[in-house]
C-alpha cells in the first residue's frame, strides 16, 4: 500500500465550520481563517525536501456533468498529473490520467471515476467521447479502474471527476486551493514532514505551527498503522485460536493414549515377558500417537482444501466477500502447522508411552 497524506484547509464534510486559528500569534488575534494558494503549495514543495510529490487540489461539489440525456452532479477535483501517483489513481486499460501537457495547455480533458462513468455512459465506451461540465465540453481521457477504498476525504474516487488544476482555475476562478496532497520520500517520517510544512506556512501566514485548529491534516500513515495493528490483532487472535486448538488436540491425544496404555496394560506385560525392551514399548506408543496426530492432520488439510474450493465455487460478490471470497492455502502456514502438529503428537504420546514403558512386567501381566 502506498502512503500519501493530505494537508487541507477545509474539511467541509468533516467539520461544518471553516477552520480558524485558535491561538493568538505574534500580536494577531485568534479566529483568523488561514488559506493557501497554488503558489503556496509549490513553494512548500521547494522548501521541504522530504516531500517526494505534491499536488495542489481544487475542489468543487455538485458540479453538473452531462452526456446526452444523462446528467450527474458530483465532486470535481482540479489536480496535477502527479496526483495519480500519490493517490493510486489507476486508469483503465487503454485510458490515461491527466498529463503534463493537459496542465500546461489548460486542456479541457476529464478523468472519470468508474461510478461517474457508469452514470453518464452506462456500459458504453466513454474514452474519446465528450461530456459537458457546466455546459463546457470536456474530452474523457480516462476511467478509474475499480478501486477499494477503506476511507476517503469528501468523496470516493469512483464517484469523482478529475480535471487539470489549470483548467479548474480558468473555469471556476478560485483564489485558494482546498488541499495539498503530499507523498513523502519516507512515510515513516510523515509527522516530521507535517511539522515542517506547518512551520513554513506558519511563517508566511503568521500562525502558530502548533495550532491544530488552523490547519487540519490527515496522515494516512496513521491509518496505515491502525490497519496494520488491526490486522496484526486479527492474526494474533486467529493464531491463538490455532495454538489453543492444537494444545487441546494434544491433550486429547494424550488422554486417548493414556486410556490406550491402560487398556493394553496386559498386552504390554505379555510383550515384556516375551522379551520386549522398554524402548520398544516407548516407540510403539509414541508412533501410535503420531499416527493419530498424522491422521488428524491429513483430515484437517483435506477439509481446508475442500472448504477453499467450495468458497471459490460460491463466487461471492460485494461487501465483505471482496475480502473473503478468494481464500488460498498458505503453504507456509500448512508447513508450520504440520510441524507443530507432529511435535504435539510426539509430546502427547511421549508421556503415556513412558508410563507404559516403565510398567513392571509382573504387575502388568497380573492386570485384568
Amino acid at each position: 500500500m502506498k502512503i500519501f497524506m493530505f494537508i487541507s484547509q477545509f474539511l467541509r464534510d468533516m467539520k461544518s465550520q471553516k477552520l480558524r486559528t485558535s491561538l493568538a500569534y505574534q500580536g494577531l488575534n485568534k479566529g483568523r481563517v488561514i488559506r493557501f494558494t497554488e503558489e503556496d503549495a509549490l513553494s512548500v514543495k521547494q522548501q521541504v525536501p522530504a516531500i517526494k510529490d505534491l499536488s495542489p487540489e481544487y475542489t468543487r461539489y455538485g458540479v453538473e456533468l452531462k452526456r446526452d440525456r444523462n446528467t450527474y452532479a458530483t465532486l470535481v477535483r482540479g489536480v496535477y498529473p502527479v496526483y495519480a501517483e500519490i493517490r493510486n489513481v489507476i486508469p483503465e486499460r487503454g485510458s490515461r490520467f491527466i498529463d503534463a501537457q493537459d496542465l500546461d495547455q489548460k486542456r479541457r480533458v476529464i478523468f472519470l471515476g468508474d461510478k461517474v462513468k457508469k452514470e453518464l455512459f452506462k456500459d458504453g465506451e466513454a474514452v474519446g467521447k465528450y461530456i459537458l461540465l457546466n455546459r463546457i465540453p470536456f474530452l474523457v481521457v480516462g476511467i478509474l479502474i475499480e478501486k477499494k477504498q477503506s476511507s476517503d476525504y469528501g468523496e470516493r474516487d469512483e464517484n469523482a471527476a478529475f480535471i487539470p488544476a489549470t483548467t479548474f482555475s480558468a473555469i471556476f476562478g478560485p483564489k485558494y486551493i482546498s488541499n495539498m496532497v503530499i507523498k513523502a520520500w519516507d512515510p515513516g517520517k510523515n509527522k516530521a514532514l507535517i511539522k515542517q510544512v506547518l512551520t513554513v506556512m506558519g511563517k508566511k501566514y503568521k500562525f502558530n505551527p502548533d495550532d491544530t485548529d488552523a490547519i487540519s491534516y490527515w496522515n494516512m500513515m496513521e491509518q496505515e498503522t491502525l490497519f496494520t495493528s488491526i490486522f496484526l490483532g486479527f492474526n494474533l487472535f486467529l493464531g491463538m485460536v490455532g495454538v489453543f486448538t492444537l494444545i487441546v488436540g494434544g491433550i486429547g491425544v494424550s488422554n486417548i493414549m493414556n486410556v490406550v496404555v491402560e487398556e493394553r496394560t496386559k498386552e504390554i506385560g505379555i510383550k515384556m515377558a516375551l522379551g520386549a525392551k522398554r524402548r520398544y514399548v516407548l516407540l510403539q506408543f509414541v508412533s501410535e500417537a503420531l499416527m493419530i496426530a498424522f491422521s488428524g492432520g491429513v483430515i484437517g488439510i483435506v477439509l481446508s482444501l475442500v472448504l477453499v474450493q467450495v468458497i471459490k465455487a460460491l463466487n461471492l460478490q460485494g461487501g465483505a466477500a471482496d475480502f473473503i471470497a478468494h481464500p488460498v492455502i498458505s503453504v507456509q502456514t500448512m508447513t508450520v502447522t504440520a510441524f507443530l502438529l507432529g511435535l504435539i503428537g510426539f509430546l502427547a504420546g511421549l508421556f503415556p508411552a513412558r508410563r507404559a514403558a516403565s510398567l513392571d512386567p509382573v504387575e502388568a501381566l497380573r492386570y485384568e
Binding site: K266, E267, I270, K271, M272, A273, L274, G275, A276, K277, R278, Y280, D360, P361, V362, L365
Partner: protein, 232 residues
C-alpha cells in the same frame, strides 16, 4: 537334543542361594519368599506346588527373570541375574526362557502366526527367517493350517498349542508354565501335559507351577513351597 547322561554329569542350569523377596517396608513388610536355595539341572521336569500365598508365583517370577530378588544370588546358566537391569532381563526372557501362561495370554488381535512371531521380532530375527521358523513351529504343534486364524477363531486345545509354539520360538533353555492347565478341562489338560512330556523327552527343561497334585504326580521332581520356604 538327546537326553543327557546321569544327573551328576548335567550342569546346574539354575542355581539359587539364599533368595529372599520382600514387599513393602517397616510394619507392612511382607516376606514373599525367605532364604530359598535351589538348583535346577538341565533336562529336569519339575512341578512347583504350594497353596496360594505360599510364594510360588513370586518364585516363578524370579526364576523367569520377570522380577529380581531382594537379596541372595541367582545364577541362570552361570550368569548372575540378581543385579541385571530391565533390558538385560528382557534379553534373557526373550532368548532363553519360554513362558506358557495361565490363560495362555495370546494377543487377541493377532493371528496364530503373528503371536508365535513376537519373540522372534524382539530377538531381531529377520522377516524371512521368522517366517521359516514360525512355519516350522506351527508344523511341530500340528497347526499349519490355522496360521491365519485369530485366537477367537481357535479352539482351547489349539490356543494352548499356539502358546507352546510361542514359548519354543527362540529355542529356550527353560520352559516355564504357570498353572497351564488351570483353565482347561481334564482332556485338554492331559493333552498339554503330554506335549510337555514329549518336550522333556526331547531334552527340554521344564518347570510347571501348579496346585494340582495330579499333575505334580506326573513329574519326576516336585518342589513344594509353604509360607515362602521350600518344604522337606
Amino acid at each position: 537334543m538327546n537326553r543327557l547322561g546321569s544327573e551328576d554329569e548335567r550342569s546346574a542350569m539354575i542355581k539359587m542361594s539364599n533368595i529372599t523377596k520382600t514387599y513393602g517396608s517397616g510394619e507392612a513388610l511382607v516376606e514373599a519368599i525367605k532364604d530359598i536355595s535351589l538348583e535346577i539341572r538341565q533336562n529336569e521336569f519339575i512341578s512347583l506346588i504350594g497353596p496360594s500365598g505360599s510364594g510360588k508365583s513370586t518364585l516363578m517370577n524370579i526364576i523367569g527373570c520377570l522380577d529380581t530378588p531382594t537379596s541372595g544370588e541367582y545364577l541362570f546358566e552361570e550368569e548372575s541375574v540378581s543385579r541385571m537391569n530391565h533390558n538385560q532381563l528382557a534379553e534373557i526372557r526373550n532368548a532363553r526362557i519360554g513362558f506358557v501362561f495361565q490363560s495362555f495370554n495370546l494377543l487377541p488381535y493377532a493371528t496364530a502366526f503373528e503371536n508365535i512371531e513376537i519373540p522372534l521380532i524382539f530377538k531381531g530375527v529377520n522377516a524371512r527367517r521368522r517366517k521359516e521358523r514360525v512355519a516350522e513351529l506351527l508344523d511341530k504343534v500340528n497347526l499349519g493350517r490355522r496360521a491365519r486364524h485369530k485366537p477367537s477363531e481357535l479352539s482351547g486345545g489349539e490356543i494352548q498349542r499356539v502358546a507352546v509354539a510361542r514359548a519354543l520360538a527362540n529355542d529356550p533353555s527353560l520352559i516355564l508354565a504357570d498353572e497351564p492347565t488351570g483353565n482347561l478341562d481334564t482332556k485338554s489338560g492331559d493333552e498339554l501335559l503330554k506335549i510337555f512330556e514329549t518336550l522333556w523327552r526331547q531334552g527340554s527343561t521344564l518347570v510347571i507351577v501348579t496346585h494340582n497334585p495330579a499333575i505334580a504326580g506326573k513329574t519326576p521332581r516336585i518342589i513344594s513351597l509353604r509360607d515362602g520356604s521350600i518344604e522337606n
